[in-house]
């Protein structure tokens, strides 16, 4: 880095205290509001009690918020530099858990961190955004336009996706694939290449099918056709629809959701927390929550388009896409639009991993906002 550039960077790389002033407080306020709704929902799910879920969730959110602000305050160039190591580490965790999981007959897919149990495959959602943002940041448009240079980022995506697919956790694998595809799209990859990849993937389905174990096939079949297990997924969806529908326009009122409370609704504190919320607060409440989440995504778009470096732009937009996918898949699932995939609604569903992943995504957005005027060279640590 030349002296001239160092002087140029001076005023644009403010200290931590100055950074706090530039945090995107609007975004943070929305996130806190969503978390408050989540805690209230879990309070209701616990039959009007902080135990066993609401208090724990509030605690985790506090941890998550500190984490998000922490990520936002560290120099964005540090995020850029640590992208590959973090990716490598997360991939290692996925492999390790896969290995341990094999010993524990598939029961172990978690890593215990005390406050939260982390599912590395879930964490991979945001780490994928980070590593792809890093990678495309370093590529010229001319290289992005060619085929061969794209093979490396493609490998970055496919290795964890295949590992997670074989766990088997199809929902998470599909969502990571979706999020990564969006990153390729935003980076400027030609549209015909998407078509090509799509065709190749469809073509390879029979091949993949052959390599699967029987129990893995069984799970895929149940995933695609919940009717195979009428007391499982099908029953969940029916109950969820009744609960949502009987909530009506304005809902039954806080703590009055009879469907959920009478235990007709299973998993009311995790995957179906949105149903419980929408039963008690009706369509109006549901729309309010959707608007809040949409605002988060909108913030991500605005921040992304405003940011001064390709890394920050891709980081913010990718984080926004992650948030969108979480919310869309969960709400579509509980309303019966897509099959039951076991996808939580961040901040509302009880669970640590989705919370942490979501808050890291928020951290990325705020970081891109705080460091919007920090230009970064194509190769970090070196000159332009």
């Amino acid at each position: 880095m030349s002296r001239l550039e160092a002087e140029q960077l001076g005023p644009e790389a403010p200290g931590p205290l100055q950074k706090i002033a530039t945090l995107n407080w609007g975004l943070i306020a929305i996130v806190v509001l969503i978390a408050a709704i989540g805690c209230a929902t879990l309070y209701s799910a616990g039959q009007g009690s902080w135990d066993p879920w609401a208090m724990q969730q509030a605690l985790r959110f506090t941890v998550g918020l500190v984490l998000a602000i922490g990520i936002a305050l560290i120099d964005i160039r540090f995020l850029l530099n640590s992208a590959y190591p973090v990716y490598a580490f997360t991939l290692l965790l996925v492999v390790a858990v896969e290995f341990v999981g094999e010993i524990g007959k598939g029961a172990q897919r978690w890593i215990d961190l005390g406050v939260v149990q982390l599912q590395p495959s879930e964490l991979m959602k945001v780490v994928m955004v980070m590593v792809l943002a890093r990678h495309f940041h370093g590529m010229t448009r001319e290289r992005i336009g060619r085929v061969v240079p794209l093979l490396l980022p493609l490998a970055l995506v496919l290795v964890p996706v295949i590992l997670i697919f074989r766990q088997p956790d199809f929902g998470t694998a599909a969502l990571i694939l979706c999020g990564a595809g969006t990153m390729f799209f935003l980076a400027g990859v030609r549209l015909w290449k998407f078509l090509l990849v799509f065709v190749v993937m469809v073509g390879s389905v029979p091949l993949v099918w052959l390599t699967l174990e029987d129990y893995q096939r069984e799970r895929i079949e149940t995933f695609l056709d919940p009717g195979r297990d009428p007391l499982g997924a099908g029953y969940h969806i029916t109950q969820s629809k009744i609960a949502l529908g009987s909530g009506g326009l304005f809902g039954k009122g806080f703590l009055q959701g009879s469907q959920s409370r009478l235990n007709f609704l299973p998993e009311k504190q995790t995957d179906f927390a949105f149903t419980l919320y929408a039963e008690e607060f009706g369509l109006m409440g549901a729309l309010f929550l959707l608007v809040l989440f949409s605002l988060v995504v909108a913030f991500a778009c605005i921040i992304g388009m405003r940011a001064g470096s390709q890394f920050a732009r891709l980081l913010a937009l990718g984080a926004g896409v992650t948030v969108f996918l979480y919310v869309f898949v969960n709400v579509a699932m509980v309303t019966g639009l897509v099959p039951v995939v076991g996808a939580p609604l961040p901040l509302v569903s009880y669970g640590g991993t989705a919370m942490i992943t979501f808050m890291i995504a928020i951290g990325f957005m705020v970081s891109a906002h705080v460091h919007r005027d920090v230009p970064i060279g194509r190769q970090t640590g070196e000159g332009f």
Binding site: R141, A187, R261, M305, T335, F384
Partner: protein
């Protein structure tokens, strides 16, 4: 160049971000449309569905296995129990519904307050709350007629556990009680309201088998919370029934005798009983004899139930006919729910009613251990059967004196005479010649020092000490004096009454490794136990000694010698010292147990078999701090054995094996 490139990338990204935003907008729109469809367009429909019948998956508990005694009498059975619960949300007026219920239920009082509080506190409007439990069929019939006018109430039929023999068999049956948080497992039946789990005894040991496998049903429930229809999904399987080797009548009698101990039983309205009751501060004490009788001790005061243990065992098959530990407690009270006051009283009772002393009480075996020393001595050829040891009332070892219980001394005694009179000096001498290791080895062969594996939780292993044990435990070398007192069953030795009766059984059945068992199993009945490798003539000498200890001229159990039982008993008394007697006390004169505070008196012990000529049953009786084994424990044992043999005559005689014939002692015998 880079800047231009970056600007180009930025333009592309902005363009594509807008496309992406649009796609997200459309997808979110789809969610909104879907939610609108469900919550507005179809809302009435779903509203109806939610008020209509609902399908719910419920866990259906299966009935718990019944425990019976060997004659088929119920020891732990199930009773129908009716329960009324209410779902507050569905009651039109909670207060008035509860008032109506109160008027309908005449046989049981109930309080509306806790129900209202429970609704208010936990915001529990949708969960059924139990209003009143344990209703009679008549009450329920009356309520069922009125049920349509009381929306929200549910009549539930449950089953409650009942123990017909109550307190007397509680240490075998154990008891069930509500499930605690730590006991919750994968079994959903444990999470049901009113679920019970075995906490002790057979109920705990065979918990999984007795509980069975709960079923699942799909239940159609209407808006008022009433079940319309059930569709079985998984049937589950009822708990397994168990038949025990126990004889419930004998068990009850044994328990009663044990509680009474040496006390006199008088009618409650007799003069002496009334005088004792007047002088008693807490009138409940000593009323345990039941049926209008009270127990009086030697001084004429009310006698509280003795704390002790007794076991009756078939010496060939190991079947336990009675296993009592007193005082007991009422297992039915636990099922109904114990008040904290009663619970504290049970825990603070110094005679520990909660502990099964027969399998978990540790006592020095005292004189009943002496046959082990005899067998070890014969096996190691340190003594011959006829060799006499001169007892002068004590034995000296270094600076210490080891006293015989008979201060004047027994004079020269051989093995049989030593057993008859329980001469301590004779056994000090044998122990001194043997050392601790052969004694410990023999004790282990007869079942001491380890659990015997009876089908009850909490059996303890007792303790057979040795040189290595002492070094590991105390870091000190073994002392010869400790070998001597081990020779009379004192010192570090500890044994459970179950081990003592097993020793007696193994001595009497020709030294076969019989183990006690509680579950009657036709297949196991024909199993013959392995031999312990004790020569028959050694056994015969010891059994002759034990016969003389009851029937001899100088027998320690002379108190039962002249009873006309129709058979003879062979056995051994024990008066187990629980404190060290000082030289001072020896000088000042005889120490009488009656003069000491209760917790310093000897434990009274007796082990015996009957009939002596063709042994069939062994018993062990222990009265904590009861004093003399011969005077206190032996008479109870005699009554127990008499009752056992009378029962056997009535219900068919057991397999009998003749006592090994006396054979000349041969040193080369193995």
């Amino acid at each position: 160049m880079r800047n231009a490139d970056d600007q180009e990338a930025r333009r592309t990204l902005t363009r594509r971000a807008l496309v992406l935003g649009a796609i997200q907008f459309v997808l979110t729109g789809a969610l909104v449309v879907r939610l609108h469809h469900l919550q507005v367009t179809e809302s009435d429909n779903y509203q109806g569905l939610s008020e209509d019948n609902q399908f719910d998956i419920v866990v259906v508990p299966v009935s718990r296995g019944v425990v019976r005694d060997r004659q088929g009498r119920g020891l732990a059975v199930n009773r129908d129990l009716f329960r009324i619960s209410i779902i507050a949300e569905r009651a039109e007026n909670l207060q008035s519904t509860l008032q109506q219920l109160r008027e309908l239920i005449v046989h049981r009082e109930f309080d509306a307050e806790p129900v209202l509080r429970s609704v208010a506190e936990r915001n529990n409007r949708f969960q059924p709350i139990v209003v009143v439990d344990g209703l009679s069929r008549r009450d329920v019939a009356r309520i069922a007629v009125r049920a349509p006018y009381m929306p929200g109430i549910r009549i539930e039929v449950g089953r409650s556990r009942h123990y017909p023999y109550g307190e007397s068999a509680v240490h075998v049956t154990g008891y069930v009680a509500p499930v605690s948080a730590t006991e919750l497992s994968d079994d959903p039946a444990l999470g049901l309201p009113g679920a019970r789990i075995g906490k002790s005894g057979i109920e705990h040991f065979f918990e999984a088998a007795l509980r069975g496998i709960s079923g699942r049903r799909q239940v159609e429930v209407n808006a008022a919370g009433q079940w319309i229809r059930e569709l079985p999904v998984e049937d589950g399987a009822s708990g397994a029934n168990l038949t025990l080797t126990l004889d419930a009548e004998l068990q009850q009698q044994v328990s009663l005798w044990l509680e009474r101990g040496p006390a006199r039983v008088v009618p409650r309205d007799s003069w002496s009983a009334r005088r004792a009751l007047d002088g008693q501060r807490s009138p409940e004490l000593g009323l345990a004899a039941g049926q209008g009788l009270v127990n009086l001790d030697a001084g004429g005061s009310l006698a509280p139930p003795e704390s002790g243990a007794a076991i009756v065992m078939d010496i060939h098959r190991g079947e336990v006919l009675a296993l009592a530990s007193t005082p007991g407690f009422d297992p039915n009270a636990f099922n109904k729910g114990l008040t904290p006051r009663d619970w504290n009283r049970l825990l603070s009772n110094r005679r520990s009613p909660m502990i099964n002393k027969a399998i978990a009480g540790w006592y020095p075996p005292g004189s009943i251990f002496k046959p082990m020393v005899c067998l070890a001595a014969l096996q190691n050829r340190v003594v011959s059967v006829d060799e006499k040891v001169d007892c002068r009332g004590f034995m000296e070892l270094g600076d210490s004196r080891f006293h015989c219980w008979h201060a004047a001394g027994h004079g020269p005694v051989n093995m049989e005479e030593a057993l008859e009179q329980s001469c301590d000096v004779y056994f000090y001498e044998l122990a001194r010649r043997l050392g601790i290791r052969p004694i410990a080895d023999m004790a282990r062969r007869f079942g001491f020092g380890d659990t015997l594996g009876i089908e009850l939780p909490g059996e303890r292993s007792g303790l057979v000490p040795g040189e290595e044990w002492k070094r590991a435990k105390y870091g000190e070398p073994w002392q010869e004096g400790e070998t001597l007192i081990s020779g009379i069953g004192q010192g570090f030795l500890l044994a459970t009454p179950l081990q003592m009766v097993t020793m007696m059984a193994r001595l009497a059945n020709g030294a076969r490794a019989v183990v006690p068992r509680l579950v009657l199993d036709e297949q196991a009945r024909s199993v013959s136990f392995g031999r312990l490798g004790i020569p028959k003539d050694h056994l015969a000498v010891v059994m002759r000694g034990l016969w003389r200890a009851v029937n001899g001229y100088r027998a320690t159990a002379a108190s039962i010698r002249d009873r006309q039982l129709g058979f003879e008993i062979a056995g051994k008394t024990g008066s187990v010292q629980v404190r060290r007697i000082t030289e001072e006390e020896r000088r000042t004169g005889k120490l009488r147990n009656e003069d000491l505070p209760r917790d310093q008196r000897d434990h009274a012990l007796f082990v015996g078999v009957a009939p002596a000529d063709r042994p069939a049953y062994a018993t062990c009786v222990l009265i904590e701090h009861g004093g003399s084994g011969g005077a206190v424990a032996a008479p109870i044992a005699a009554e127990i054995l008499a009752r056992t043999i009378r029962n056997t005559v009535a219900t068919g005689s057991p397999r009998v094996v003749p006592l090994p014939q006396l054979a000349p002692h041969r040193d080369d015998a193995t």
